[in-house]
Symmetry: C2
Amino acid sequence: MLVEGKSYRTIEASSDLTRVTIIDQTALPFKFELIDLKSLEDVIQAIKIMQVRGAPLIGVTSAFGIALAMNNDSSDQSLLDAAFSLKESRPTAVNLAWAVNKMLEHLKPYDTNDRAKIAWLYANELAEDDIKTNIDIGRAGLPLLKQIKSSPLNILTHCNAGWLATIDNGTALSPIYQAFEEGIDIHVWVDETRPRNQGMSLTAWELTQAKIPHTIISDNTGGLLMQQNKVDCVIVGADRISIDGQVCNKIGTYLKALAAKAHNIPFYVAAPLSTIDNSFIGEKKSFEIECRHPDELLRIKGMNNDGTVSEVKIGMSTAYNPAFDLTPAEYITKIICEKGSYNPESIGTLL
Amino acid sequence: MLVEGKSYRTIEASSDLTRVTIIDQTALPFKFELIDLKSLEDVIQAIKIMQVRGAPLIGVTSAFGIALAMNNDSSDQSLLDAAFSLKESRPTAVNLAWAVNKMLEHLKPYDTNDRAKIAWLYANELAEDDIKTNIDIGRAGLPLLKQIKSSPLNILTHCNAGWLATIDNGTALSPIYQAFEEGIDIHVWVDETRPRNQGMSLTAWELTQAKIPHTIISDNTGGLLMQQNKVDCVIVGADRISIDGQVCNKIGTYLKALAAKAHNIPFYVAAPLSTIDNSFIGEKKSFEIECRHPDELLRIKGMNNDGTVSEVKIGMSTAYNPAFDLTPAEYITKIICEKGSYNPESIGTLL
């Protein structure tokens, strides 16, 4: 996508295959900053502190993490160690484990002398695949938007499932980008998405770059907007989807799904098939909800009047900060993936 | 209630009847600061910038505003002008208009020479009434808490309907304070309540002062907690209640009510009968939703590492900031008022 007129991806390998360049997403929306990751440790740190985030992006980033590890030591042990540490870095997004496993399977048969080069090739292939997948998700979602006859078409989204969450194009925002390109009169309600404010900081920034009309709202506001008939549909991404169509996504997604159901508003989840977790049956809730540091809630970064950015403390008590919730299939109108849009209950049959 | 061991009310008249002292609620939780309001204009400003807030408290504060105006000019015109400007200062909380109308009715028959003194007496009476009312709300709510057999009893609350929202004791928090005094093992989930963070800044501060166990959560978290059976009931306050039991309260209340209903969790609204708006029938939605400045969402105040407090900008796009939403009666288990707890649909019959 374009940033101030210039084309970027969220992650790109250097031509000499010694580093990857990422957009530091913790610096947005205040500053657009590229940083280089030069080792497996750099990659793990960037994933942990969320300089890269979004299920598809952390998948591909971890693939490049393996490539960086192979530059250094391409032994079987090094490969397994890298895979293990990467999987530990964020527990919820299944795409991370998916990408790491793809790399493992692909690299194992190769001689250690060839592994580094092959790893870079394959990580780049996963990145290219992600871009194609997201364009296909956009194509699959576009007809669902077109069938709503409102002008402007008011879409609510939670968190960031835009191009910043992927290599390019995004998942939930991909149909929105395609609709905007086709000249559809569109307006996006952007949930700020506490505590990390990915909506306010990332989605709003993306949509500003793309010149798509949008308005930031507090996460509390969606219910009122639905009461006032100001939301035509909801589209969100996903971090993990069970084979029976239950969706683990950013905390607060479930509250919006409940409200959409109460108001008979379509609720769409857009995600690549790699988000489906074969071993995860929703009703057993056999997934780990990542709990992050309370300071994410109690401290916040912002821009001072002089343009510098600093962090202030906003809360003084203890806090609890789980990062995801689970939306049962009955609240989801369709899951949009690269193969089309499906009833959530049948999503497992696509594997 | 006690602040660092010393007893306070949120507003107190000076003995010479020339000013009222309030707690500056915009300074909390960083600093406990008392300020004096010496004129009607001071009162209107304090209500507008929310140095005082909470439906019952702004009602009584506006009564003192009339008293201050009478000190200056006790003519009929001055009385009517003061009433008009006070009602304009915040549109949603019906208690404000209720208190102003009570003052108007009470003062009109008196000779202008007596009005100032009578105004102070009557405003003080309204303050005392508020305290008694809130104790009665606590008594009415307590049996509802006691009938839940969980230990600890996990209560979720949104915004601040504690003693800071009233003269003392609070509305939604009044049964919680009484339960705690009786030794019931209680824990409160405190919604931070974006955009103004009254939960994080005021409710958490109040509960800390009272030594009641509590945890701050993002407004997005309640749904997950209900999924995990970690919420036994929800109690919130109200800014306006229709005669058919629909509740206008802080934005986001409705999303929690939807979730409570889906999980079969009791959802209680605690408010004095003065919150009921005779002219407001919920289904007509004939109430004004106050929209406040977008900067309340896009800027935030916090404490720097050196202990100073400053405001930072956290969002860069346009924002929309409605302050309230409407929760239909069907989502409310009981409305708790000074007369007892009632099915919401029948609340209008109490008037």
